[in-house]
Symmetry: C2
Subunit: 411 residues, 2 copies
Amino acid sequence: MAKINQNYMQLQGSYLFSEVARRRNKFISENPNASIISLGIGDVTRPLPEAVLSGMHAAVDELADSVSFKGYGPEQGYEFLIAQIIGNDYNTRGISLETDEVFVSDGSKCDVANIQEIFSLDTVIAVTDPVYPVYVDSNVMAGRSGAYDKTANRYENIVYLPCNAENNFIPSLPDKKVDLIYLCYPNNPTGMTLSKEELKKWVDFAKANKCIILYDSAYEAYIQEDDVPRSIYEIEGAKDVAIEFRSYSKTAGFTGVRCAYTVVPKGVKAYDEDGNSVTVRDLWNRRQTTKFNGCSYITQKGAAAIYTEAGKEQIRSLVDYYMTNAKIIREGVKSLGFEVYGGVNAPYIWLKTPNGLGSWQFFDKLLSEANIVGTPGVGFGQSGEGYLRLTAFGSRENTETAVERLTKISL
Amino acid sequence: MAKINQNYMQLQGSYLFSEVARRRNKFISENPNASIISLGIGDVTRPLPEAVLSGMHAAVDELADSVSFKGYGPEQGYEFLIAQIIGNDYNTRGISLETDEVFVSDGSKCDVANIQEIFSLDTVIAVTDPVYPVYVDSNVMAGRSGAYDKTANRYENIVYLPCNAENNFIPSLPDKKVDLIYLCYPNNPTGMTLSKEELKKWVDFAKANKCIILYDSAYEAYIQEDDVPRSIYEIEGAKDVAIEFRSYSKTAGFTGVRCAYTVVPKGVKAYDEDGNSVTVRDLWNRRQTTKFNGCSYITQKGAAAIYTEAGKEQIRSLVDYYMTNAKIIREGVKSLGFEVYGGVNAPYIWLKTPNGLGSWQFFDKLLSEANIVGTPGVGFGQSGEGYLRLTAFGSRENTETAVERLTKISL
């Protein structure tokens, strides 16, 4: 008799963005003439950079000819792309990596969801709160979460590290034993960053406690300030304790094209049941070669084109476009008296809801009064209650219209 | 302290094709002038069909414009592709499916490796032997295999169903309790098929025992004989007990482009710890929406183009090309006195090794004397010992040269 993975029964409600979509669709069906502006899901809207388009067209043409045709590629990604990643994204910052420490994939969502598989089921995970739901849900599915406590809106066995206005969104080190720590900077959803000094505390903590940091830097390209670390490997010792996730989704408009990479330095160790150290990179390599078959050749050629001079310039202008939107939203809502965070080194603006409104209450209010779709902060965790996320990924026109509409909602 | 998933320590050696690549590379480094012909890994070599190329170029162009730009797509795949799949691959055979029973992905390898996640850890799995290694290894990683028995070359808790010349490659029903049954027809690696009558025995067994059949039909397009079932859903009742995996890798040359789909009819149920039935489709949907972010838009547009009249014609001629190769290999080795199976409804030819040679011995002999890379049958399981797989995916010229070289090896 086929039995289900009972852990799935612990998952709470629909995935956040499904619920947002449901409410949005309901509103549209009831208000068919409303002109909705979505500043909700963190999805890009600008066309792909010209260099990427050319790279992909050329790759399609290669597949038209039996001499240049490519079948299965390396599960870890093509060396032509990995060399560009190491040269441009790491060597330029004084970080050295070996080719077989970088794994190209079809998306960071997959990688951050799958990485937990290579660790034991009794692993204790720590997450900042609010948090990208995939870190939590992938561990719930694996059975690491314990029961869900409805009152607390938290799972019993997960260690939550609150980040809110009170602590200036800087998480405290865990006060109990943890094994894996998920950090995301620039942060989704708050848009906030950690300084090198703050990040160093985490690397030191991980070293002292033989923890591993799962460092999601999907929004690295949006960093504007010089003193904000772009990679965790800028911190001394991080290559012994940190796995870093990067994505082209937001950097280059690849949300529909699918390409990301994960760095697993050979210095990162975990321990077997006899206490012997095991090279985590080898486990991930085995996971990927067994369960994944590489990212599309066409996509990888498109990604490699980002590293040409033209590509770099086009990416900069893409990021500038969205960060100008971020500034418009940030300054706009600020001038209306909102408490606002993020939006300086990240495409996310994290609003404190006015008048003590709950996140979903404010979501519904924005939707009905301004026809704007945001993302309720509480959807990212209990510490997000009373906040709402707006993204800078809209068009300029929509962004400006949204800010104008905000002036008219009743507060 | 981060601890590893100890189950990984149960995995045996390298993944089969890594070991093949290692021996091949060693031979090349020692014999730099040898002209190697690979009939090993099941990878296509012909260019993509013209319709697919046009579809993908057009999709790239859509991403060049902010109006037609596509960001995140549905994790389950675009409806434009799913409608073509249902209409062409199923309705034409009298099988009805709903849109939300089809899940598009970046490859069947991922899907068949990931599907086990939604079932309980004490699930007993049955596999035919020889078998595609991913079915076994993904379950080893999850902890369902028990210890590896070196003498038997088998895992203790996995139920193996031998398929060999003695039973004409028709597996017997399990003689012990099993929960999930992996079947692959046309079979990889043997190239053999099951008749409708044989397949019906499995559907009936699954119904009687509340098992689920995981039916991999990646090679469906290669079926030439009319009475061979192309989908398990041609068997009455299968929509209550079977999940079907299909891929464009071999059908349309997508091994480097990455697109596949998985059908999970809502009639398929598994049971929770209280014995209540749960719709497996909903669990898979939750798994995919949480851990996957959809297949590339460009790839899906390319896949949809396969269903145009031109696309269908081009696919047929692609399959004909490889099946002519299959015939050349099959008849060539037969005329040399080999016992040979498969190659009629599948692009794989399954050779009995001559003179009682072991699979790896014959692999090495083929490599050193004929400079041909095959795949040792024992790499697919103990019942594959004494066999070797050749694929029809080479070029015509290489296929003919390979058969000619075979006449010269010492037997």
